[in-house]
Amino acid sequence: MLRLAAAELRVGDAARGFTLELPELRLAAGERVALVGPSGIGKTTLLELVALLQRPTRLAALEIAGHDARELALRGGLNARAAFRARHLSYMVQSGGVLPFLSARDNALAAARVAGERIDAALLERLAIGAERLGLGAALQRGRAELSGGERKRLGLLRVLVAPRPLVLADEPTSALDGAAATTVMTALGELASRHGCAVLIVTHDEVRARAAGFRLCALRGVSPGHRRLCALGG
């Protein structure tokens, strides 16, 4: 589902920036991987690179959902990358990513709408089940201002559950959530892989819950000043 090889990305300027080196990262359909490492090491940057939001300086291969996305990642325009992302990727940003001008319900349906999907009965059923599962049933009719930070985060996941793509990316999905909500979210992400066959790649500091939800850990470490590498798989 995801194959990334020999990628390199320069982040920031020469004085304070770093080079992110990614020798290889593979995720099969239904596989779960959690990227761990200290804050500021470049985990989110790696996620953004896979989401075609960052342009690598070097890239040997990038395949997403059976499509060669190398050229797209290296030289693709905003439109082409956005269209590819809408079809093949679900990305849950760290804050949850709630559009302030839409109700909670419309936020949950936003990814499907942006992809041009019909809002049919099956999709609405997924919305109802997902909302129930994440404890957002009552919150769906509210606006963003009325949502708590935790609800916003769960709403971001609900958007993924309503219209999951083959590759699901989530940036610290359990941060700022209480224990029960964090477990629910991590479990739901795990089930996206086990039930829907999605490849799920997350960035987290919550290693315990990630392991419990069946995520394989993958560490990003600094190998020298200004040089970070994805150097350990499994665990």
Partner: protein, 411 residues
């Protein structure tokens, strides 16, 4: 649902969610556009209506040559033809005397009888030619048998078109008064709005023949004929500019050409031109300031909006919106805001019609204003929308991927 309709749906939802800011934006655009719009409506409504009102009175195009041809000598037919070729001249007819000469006129009695002494009315004699603006839409007296007159003259004589009138021409000969009577057919009566004074109009040839009789150039038996050796020169003219705006230029040129005591028939043109110049200057200033203010306001609003909403735009990019959809979203918002601002400015201008009408009536005596210049204002609105398109597109396109990526993390 297509991505286009999603972009439009999101655009409207965003405007509604941010309705106070949207309303303030619309009001700001309206405030910037309204002064120039109002002044334009005033310019078209008042000035154009007044111009039309003035133009309706042909005397406002007339340039009076009170002193005749002055030092330049009498005008020959060739000089008259050169005068007609001036672009400032719309119509000119020669006058056989310096000032208007009065004659006795009376309705023609039936048969061979002559009018009685009490029937005669003294009226000033003028000349006319085809193309005379005073007779526009009426027959023009031609040859030695026709006459036209003003409504005031017709009322004094008690005659109408088709009636016959008699002119009595007199001269002193060896201490005796010689009288000749010439019957003529009345071919036109021009309304008082065209010529308020009591005058009769004949062809220059007939007027010259009358003069020839009075100055003993012909015998009684030869009246009304011109002497065989008569030189056709004219001591004065009745002259009109083709438009009221050219009347001052015609006056200047006649003065420069040596005509004496040349002046405009009416001081309304000077007032009109003063008003036009004042309004044009104010309008030009307001238009420049308004356009500048509009562009700056729009650019600032677009820039601020893009800055404020970069996080939202970034999230839309994460979800799969490309630059096309982002541009459409921002563009539709911009167009809606600018169109609303234009609509409010237009409504304000429409509301100002009634006070303008009152002003036109009290200040200039106008019954009606010129029609509301909707077409011109729509063109102005179109220009404003185009500026909106450019501003919005620029603000959207300047968003770089890197900025969007950074905004995702800030959200």
């Amino acid at each position: 649902m297509s991505r286009v309709s999603t972009a439009l749906r999101f655009a409207l939802a965003d405007l509604w969610a941010d309705r106070l800011a949207a309303l303030l934006t619309i009001l700001l655009l309206m405030v910037v556009m309204t002064p120039a719009t109002l002044l334009y409506v005033a310019k078209v409504g008042l000035v154009s209506a007044w111009t039309e009102e003035i133009a309706r009175d042909v005397s406002n195009r007339e340039v009076l040559v009170l002193g005749g041809t002055g030092t330049r000598g009498w005008l020959s037919e060739a000089e008259l033809a050169r005068l007609r070729a001036w672009p400032e001249v719309g119509f000119v007819t020669p006058e056989p005397v310096f000032s208007v000469r009065a004659h006795d006129w009376a309705p023609a009695p039936a048969g061979e009888a002559l009018p009685g002494p009490g029937q005669f009315v003294t009226l000033g004699l003028r000349t006319t030619l085809p193309g005379d603006p005073v007779f526009a839409g009426h027959a023009v007296a031609q040859g030695m048998t026709e006459v036209g007159c003003s409504a005031a003259a017709a009322a004094k004589l008690g005659v109408g078109v088709g009636d016959r009138v008699v002119v009595q021409v007199t001269r002193q000969s060896d201490g005796r008064l010689e009288r000749e009577f010439l019957p003529l057919t009345l071919v036109a009566v021009v309304p008082a709005s065209r010529w308020p004074r009591a005058n009769v109009f004949v062809s220059p040839a007939l007027a010259r023949a009358i003069r020839a009789f009075q100055y003993h150039e012909v015998t009684r038996a030869d009246f009304p004929r011109l002497p065989e050796q008569a030189t056709l020169t004219w001591p004065s003219i009745r002259v009109y500019a083709p438009t009221i705006h050219l009347a001052p230029a015609l006056r200047e040129r006649l003065q420069a050409a040596g005509f004496d005591e040349v002046r405009l028939h009416s001081d309304q043109i000077a007032r009109l031109q003063g008003l036009e110049r004042g309004i044009d200057a104010a309008f030009g200033m307001l238009l420049v300031l308004g356009a500048l203010g509009f562009c700056v306001s729009l650019f600032l609003l677009e820039w601020l909006s893009a800055e404020r909403k970069t996080g939202d735009l970034a999230l839309l990019v994460v979800l799969g919106f490309g630059s096309r959809e982002l541009a459409l979203l921002r563009l539709s918002q911009s167009l809606l805001l600018v169109a609303s601002g234009c609509a409010l400015a237009l409504l304000t201008a429409l509301a100002a019609q009634a006070p303008l009408q009152a002003l036109g009536h009290s200040l200039l005596g106008l019954e009606h204003l010129h029609p509301f210049p909707l077409g011109d204002l729509m063109l102005g609105a179109l220009a404003a929308l185009l500026i909106g398109v450019v501003g919005s597109t620029y603000a959207t396109l300047r968003l770089r991927s890197a900025e969007l990526t950074a905004a995702i993390r800030k959200d």
